[in-house]
């Protein structure tokens, strides 16, 4: 028995742990110390040294209770928006009487209304006194939403996600104002608003309307997930148009069945593997088996993805090669002379290709 892994692993692990500890220490020591004071003006200097909240958080941070109107003023100018807000399930939470005033009603998302009303005719100051989600950067939008939604993802984590790096923020996918209480036409809040490209992106969604049993979009999403995610993930959207695919265009599956759009809070990012998403439905191939097929065991390579392209493929069973070409990519010696016939797995031979409890060559389940 030869075991060379433990010592190597110890040294291998010690490197990132040491680096991490070093970075934490460096970061703590790098934090600027508060300025020294000498008696009288201590309070004033401390106040000056305190880091002011950045916009848009400063709107809430600097507001007094009197700056909030309880949303009474909003309807005077924004009748369409207040009507559409009343139709959204988000209202349920914004009207919770347990909420503090800065997290209630319109002002819970758009900031206190007093200064906005006072400065509403000033072109320069208009958007400095209200949180306008169409005039904010992705960082500002995330900062506003994450005041309440920290259980989804923190601000620190959000800015490190791939979505953040691509400039995608909360309102890129979610919509608080609904034109219709039933969730129809979420994109078009105002009838004269131009149709968003989202509704036409994946395209096959139009075909999907033939299949009437698709689940409705959840979590206040702007559109069904196929269209919404496909508006950026173009190539993936195209793959679903292949002859063989998971039934996403038909509405039988949605992207979030396998993927997490907010990955940092999710265990999947931390400890799970791709196979664990697959075996939620395909539990029969989960194993462990007496005889494991290495790539299917999910411990080497990319697991299920070694053989399957889950979005779509031109090959049956969404395989990434046609028939026995899949096997001879690794088992090159079986390419020409080994029982030429049908596929390796459905010709009555290697029928337990994901793993077997009876046969090391996977001939029997």
């Amino acid at each position: 028995m030869k075991n060379t892994g433990s010592y190597r692993r110890f040294f291998l692990y010690s490197i990132p742990v040491t680096l991490l500890a070093g970075l934490i220490v460096a970061s703590v020591f790098a934090t600027p110390a508060p300025p020294k004071t000498n008696g009288k003006d201590t309070e004033a200097k401390t106040a000056k040294a305190a880091k002011p909240a950045k916009f848009p958080l400063s709107l809430w941070a600097t507001a007094d209770e009197g700056d909030y109107s309880g949303g009474k003023n909003c309807t005077n100018c924004h009748k369409t928006q207040t009507d559409s807000y009343e139709r959204s399930p988000h209202t349920v939470y914004m009207k919770d009487p347990h909420n503090t005033v800065d997290k209630t009603g319109c002002e819970g998302c758009h900031g206190p209304s007093k200064n906005h009303v006072a400065h509403r005719k000033e072109e320069e100051g208009l958007y400095q006194n209200v949180v306008s989600y169409t005039h904010s950067t992705p960082e500002q939008i995330a900062a506003s939403c994450l005041r309440c939604h920290q259980d989804t993802v923190t601000q620190n984590h959000w800015k490190r996600t791939e979505h953040s790096h691509a400039g995608v923020s909360c309102t890129s996918c979610h919509q608080m104002h609904w034109a219709d209480r039933l969730g129809k036409d979420r994109i078009r809040v105002a009838p004269d608003q131009k149709n968003d490209a989202l509704t036409n992106t994946v395209g096959k969604a139009q075909v999907a309307s033939v299949f009437t049993n698709a689940a409705a979009p959840k979590a206040l999403l702007k559109s069904n997930e196929a269209n919404l995610c496909g508006s950026c993930h173009r190539k993936v959207g195209a793959e679903f148009r292949n002859n063989f695919h998971h039934p996403v265009p038909e509405g039988r599956l949605v992207c979030s069945d396998c993927h997490s759009a907010h990955p940092n809070r999710d265990d999947r990012k931390l400890m799970r593997t791709a196979k664990q998403a697959c075996i939620t439905c395909h539990a029969d191939v989960a194993g462990p088996f007496v005889y494991e097929h290495d790539p299917a065991s999910d411990l080497t390579g990319t697991g299920c993805l070694e053989c399957h392209n889950p979005h779509g493929s031109s090959n049956p069973a969404i395989l990434n090669s046609f028939t026995r070409g899949l096997c001879i990519k690794c088992h090159t010696d079986k390419s020409v002379n080994h029982n030429p016939g049908r596929n390796c797995w459905d010709s009555g031979c290697h029928s337990a290709i994901h793993g077997s409890n009876h046969d090391p060559r996977f001939l029997q389940r």
Partner: protein, 584 residues
């Protein structure tokens, strides 16, 4: 011939230019017309005048005159929608292929019944929705939120019926699933949740493959929320798998997991997690898998972040006899940098698997190293460029006990993707190119693919939108053992495309025409079905909304599928569907 083409092209360009000019004029005209007619804007103008007056009067300390109230642009809110329909498939040929993924409703059916009651209590929200009732494929959703007390309940059930695309007659496969969620907020920042899912599947395959009849039940309970300076999550999950055919071993997986995310300060986050899965299988010894993970994010500058992660898994699978991994370690470090509109990241990932070999007498430790990078940002011309990729190397190879003991793992893998996007208010376009290469030096094997996707959405006029996309995959392969057939003969090229026109002449009418097509080029050495296929799907969809919320819709979908090798797979269908809905 070429001159004729040029003439035609020029003519088309002129027509296009005219259409574009008309569209541009219409775009310019529409807001003016809308401004003149919109009660909102009229009220806005009045409001401005009143506002100016108020300012003047306010200087005289006189009371402000009442403002004109703007009107909502929304239709009246509805709380119930009921939609019924009739559909005829008119299908000839392989019905199994036609019904492969989901079944189109046939005959009379309830397309949708959704109810969202008008609840006076703002803290409560209820919805229920039924779809496809009357057919074999249906779905129901139920949601109920009681915000007082912080309780939330939601549930669903669904049934799907589908077929394997076989040329021999094989019965329907089906799937029935149901589940519900229950969440209770204990405090403002801490909640308990319970989830239950039940999933039954009956899959029928073509002989000699055996069918499947299985049931999976999943339930978990979790406690999560803010604790101290971080976020704690504890969960316990149970996955039970039962095979009703007696082929597979029933199993029960009990997983316990806990993680804590500690926000050290604005620049540092640390997350640690532990999980243990106990796997029980009927008539077999118990197995377990333990995982420990540590993840840290450190902001070392205003635009610079470092992420360090390690994961350690220990596996005990006493029933497994062939090569298996008993220990796995993954470590990674990544650096990401933001600069103006540009963002880039680079990471290094190391993985080692401690494998017990077939004879269970020898441990080998294959190792992989992966370098991954990503860069995205704005480039001149209003374009956005994204480039990402990775290169992976097998730095230590394991031994194999097979007929040909050469290394079976890929020794090198490369992936690269470039994406360019651009556009303006009326046009957005994109181009994506993907390259992937997997190589096994020991067997001189190589599989390479290059894929590109081109697409655009164009708002031709305020009422007409056009979407087009073209996707092409090129595959090639080779190995030390040549001769026919080799790897390359089993890697078909594929093309897919879509063209969609959407016409909204006014607020009430909607008409769309969608063409989707795909085709494969395949050597198909064994002359098997599904290798040389071509599909053409046209869907025409129209809806008209009447004054009082009534809506009529129609759909005509001539679909054609062709298998050039096994003609029994072909089908022609012309789905015709008529629907009518009302809202209250």
């Amino acid at each position: 011939m070429k001159n004729t083409d040029k003439t035609q092209t020029a003519s088309r360009m002129q027509s296009f230019t005219k259409v574009f000019a008309i569209a541009a004029l219409a775009t310019m005209y529409t807001p003016i017309r809308a401004a003149a007619q919109s009660p909102f804007d009229t009220a806005g103008t009045l409001g401005s005048i009143a506002g100016a007056g108020a300012f003047t009067v306010a200087q005289d300390d006189a009371p402000e005159p009442p403002r004109a109230q703007p009107k909502s642009k929304l239709d009246p809110a509805t709380y119930l929608v009921a939609e019924v329909g009739y559909a005829d498939w008119n299908v000839s040929g392989s019905r199994n292929k036609f019904r492969q993924y989901a079944t189109v409703p046939g005959g009379f059916f309830l397309k949708e019944l959704t109810y969202v009651p008008k609840m006076e209590d703002p803290g409560q929200y209820v919805f229920t929705s039924l779809k496809g009732i009357g057919g074999v494929d249906y779905r129901g959703d139920l949601g109920l939120v009681y915000n007082y007390g912080g309780t939330r309940i939601s549930g669903y059930f669904s049934n799907s019926s589908f077929f394997e695309d076989t040329n021999a007659p094989v019965g329907a496969s089906s799937r029935h699933s149901a589940g519900f969620d229950l969440r209770q907020n204990v405090t403002k920042n801490f909640s308990l949740a319970y989830r239950f899912k039940s999933d039954s599947q009956v899959n029928r395959y073509e002989s000699p493959n055996a069918g499947e009849n299985q049931h999976t039940q999943y339930q978990d309970i979790s406690a999560a929320g803010k604790v101290g300076p971080g976020y704690l999550k504890l969960s316990s999950a149970n996955l039970r798998f039962e095979d009703n055919t007696g082929t597979w071993v029933n199993s029960d997986v009990q997983t316990f997991a806990g993680s804590y995310l500690w926000n050290v300060n604005d620049g540092i986050d640390l997350q640690a997690g532990y999980s243990r899965a106990n796997i029980g299988q009927t008539g077999m010894k118990g197995s377990h898998i333990e995982s420990f993970a540590l993840n840290g994010d450190v902001a070392i500058g205003s635009g610079t972040d470092v992420n360090l992660a390690m994961q350690n898994r220990r596996l005990s699978m006493p029933n497994t006899l062939n090569d298996y991994v008993k220990h796995q370690g993954i470590e990674s470090i990544s650096l990401s940098q933001r600069y103006k509109s540009w963002r880039g990241s680079i990471s290094l990932r190391l993985q080692d698997d401690e494998r017990l070999n077939y004879s269970q007498t020898y441990v080998d430790v294959p190792k992989w190293s992966t370098v991954e990078g990503r860069l995205s940002g704005r480039v001149p011309g209003g374009l956005r460029l994204t480039v990402r990729g990775y290169t992976q190397a097998l730095i230590e190879q394991p031994g194999f006990n097979t007929n040909d003991p050469s290394n079976l793992y890929w020794t090198a893998r490369d992936f690269a993707e470039g994406r360019l996007e651009g556009g303006h208010d009326d046009l957005s376009y994109y181009a994506v190119y993907t390259y992937r290469s997997d190589r096994n030096a020991a067997r001189a094997a190589e599989v390479t693919t290059g894929q590109y996707t081109l697409g655009a959405t164009y708002q031709v006029s305020p009422t007409l939108n056009m979407f087009a996309e073209y996707h092409h995959e090129l595959w090639s392969g080779k190995a030390a053992i040549t001769g026919y057939p080799s790897i390359g003969n089993y890697l078909p090229d594929v093309t897919t495309g879509i063209l969609q026109l959407t016409y909204n002449p006014n607020k009430r009418a909607y008409l769309s025409l969608t063409y989707t097509g795909f085709g494969t080029r395949n050597d198909n050495p064994l002359m098997l079905p599904d290798g040389n296929t071509r599909g053409t799907f046209v869907t025409i969809n129209g809806r008209y909304k009447f004054n009082r919320g009534y809506e009529l819709g129609f759909m005509v979908a001539p679909w054609t599928y062709r298998d050039n090798v096994v003609n029994a797979m072909n089908y022609n269908a012309t789905v015709f569907m008529l629907t009518g809905s009302t809202r209250f």
